[in-house]
Amino acid sequence: MVTARRYLRLYLVFFRNCIVREMEFRGNFFANAFTTGAWLLYYIFFIEIVYSQTNAVAGWTKGQALVLAGSFSLTWGLMNALFTPNLSMLPDYIQKGTFDLTLTKPVDSQFLASARTINLAEFSRALLSVFVIAYGVSVSGISVTAVSLAIYVVLLACSLCILLGIDSLIMTLSFWLVRIRNLDAAFWSVSMMARYPVDIFGGTVLKNILTFFIPMAFIATVPARGIAQTMQVWMLPLALAFAVGLMIASRWLWLFAVRNYSSAGG
């Protein structure tokens, strides 16, 4: 409990520092907040265009598709706000040896390495996403119950854990590999597929890959199904399994990496 409170306090200081810094570069902050929001609207507009020609896409109504788009963008926005700015810097820190100082601090090194900076502008995307989800729910006429909402929140948390887990695993590899950015770029490109209903990939191999191998279906498709109450029941434990499994794996790899760390430049 004491530790939890301490880490929370620390996190608040990180947060405060990031606010102070963002306000230094206010113009930049608003420009970023604007463009991240605009890209969401850009995709929403695509959905509007597609549904202006049809009523259903692979069984998804417009409202459901909007919920899906909003869910994806919410997870994506939170990921970019809270974790990506840190994880993407990790290779640099390791190569330049700044990571050395992180290791000498009396705080968990993974916490420090993945939570230190927060990209506040990305919250605009997350916030806008909530509106999109609400709009989608009202368009589709889904009646949200306490249970379905709870399931939805759990599934969203899982989706964030899955993204974080995979990206963390990839970036931790930079302890050994120099050109890790390519792998990271590949992952982010593939994860862009998660913003579409996994059903558009048909009954093909691709759909199964995206569900069971690179679990992109759990990023948005499954949560959206969760709130629309069209989810197969076994998806929930599977999502939890993926989330917990990836969290444990990334933690394990981190500890292993740090134990075998040899810092840069002798």
Binding site: R6, R9, L10, V13, F14, R16, N17, V20, R21, E24, F25, K96, G97, T98, D100, L101, L103, T104, K105, P106, V107, S109, R259, N260, Y261, S262, S263, G265, G266
Partner: protein, 336 residues
């Protein structure tokens, strides 16, 4: 029990080498050239609480590697180390709260924020009580004359000011052991002096143990009574700074002034002639022979003045540093 103890501390780096280009990349999948670098070779050092010891050595000699092992950043390949009774690479928070590492070329302050914000963050990291924190910041910033700079963004500070802030940041939690890796690198003379005074004072007042590496002889002369010289990963000297000269030089200089001109040959029979003017000369002779030779010269030559001197510490150390600068390497072909 000493504050810092290293026994046979050894670190071997293994780096994979590959030839440039696509072909090299493909080749390296099958055959790897492993290069082993012995960065620290059975380092034995023991430092008592409250000591201020200088680690000297040329670049790549193994100073930083040793400091990193003692900081817990690196696991040694073999050997033992204890700092404040802890094994550093276990990275226990109790240990980490009692020590600090300052690297002159890496900063831990947030670049875009005022230094004070970073201090506040460190206060949380190290769980420093509020009252203690305030007192500490006030004292240290006053001593370093940076109390008016605390609300300026770090990126707008000069290098010297930034380094002073780094020092404050590193000492906020009253560490009992401090490692300073090149703390004055690239600074102007005035800042160097101020930082030196600050380190000396902290060492004296708080009894904290310091290990310092520096390329500046002035730092070493002003701060360290004891120096450890590391070269090729080995400790080649560990004693008082004043003993350095006797250990590493085997000669003394005799400076002679004559009343009347003297032939070269008359002088060079005593030792190596290093300097020569009409009425003066300098001769290099083995240390142990100095008194005897001097007496003989006085007797045989028209000497009006004679002076026996040691080479300068700085020259001695430069000599040591200028020997070969690379660590011995073993290259081996290894199929994977």
């Amino acid at each position: 029990m000493p504050a810092i103890l290293a026994e046979d501390l050894t670190k071997v780096y293994v780096s994979h080498q590959r030839e440039p280009g696509m072909l090299g990349a493909v080749k390296s999948l099958f055959v790897r050239r492993n290069k082993e670098v012995l960065a620290a070779d059975r380092i034995n050092v023991s430092v008592d609480g409250g000591e201020l010891v200088g680690f000297l050595g040329p670049n790549g000699a193994g100073k930083t590697t040793t400091l990193k092992m003692l900081s817990g950043i690196l696991h040694p390949t073999s050997g033992r180390a204890e700092v404040l009774g802890y094994r550093p690479w276990e990275r226990r928070p109790e240990f980490q709260k009692q020590f600090s590492l300052v690297m002159g070329q890496k900063n831990q302050l947030w670049w875009d924020l005022p230094a004070e914000e970073s201090f506040l963050l460190l206060k949380e990291l190290y769980e420093i009580p509020q009252s203690d924190y305030q007192k500490r910041v006030r004292e240290m910033t006053k001593m370093l004359e940076i109390d008016h700079l605390l609300s300026t963004q770090v990126r707008k500070l000069s290098l010297g000011e930034r380094m002073k802030c780094e020092l404050v940041a590193a000492l906020l939690h009253r560490p009992r052991v401090v490692f300073l890796d090149e703390p004055t690198i690239g600074l102007d003379v005035v800042s160097q002096k101020r930082i030196r005074e600050f380190i000396a004072l902290t060492n004296r007042q708080e009894g904290a143990t310091f290990i310092l590496t520096s390329h500046y002889m002035d730092d070493v002369r002003a701060l360290c009574e004891r120096v450890v010289i590391i070269d090729h990963g080995r400790v080649i000297f560990d004693d008082a700074l004043s003993r350095l000269v006797t250990q590493f030089t085997h000669t003394k200089q005799l400076r002679l002034t004559f009343s009347v001109p003297v032939e070269d040959s008359e002088i060079s029979c005593f030792g190596k002639l290093t300097q020569r003017e009409a009425l003066s000369a300098a001769v290099e002779i083995p240390r142990e022979l100095a008194p005897k030779v001097a007496a003989e010269m006085l007797a045989r030559l028209p000497v009006v003045d004679i002076e026996i001197t040691d080479p300068d510490v700085e020259d001695v150390i430069r000599d040591i540093f200028q020997r070969k600068e690379t660590a011995p390497t073993v290259a081996q072909e290894e199929a994977v």
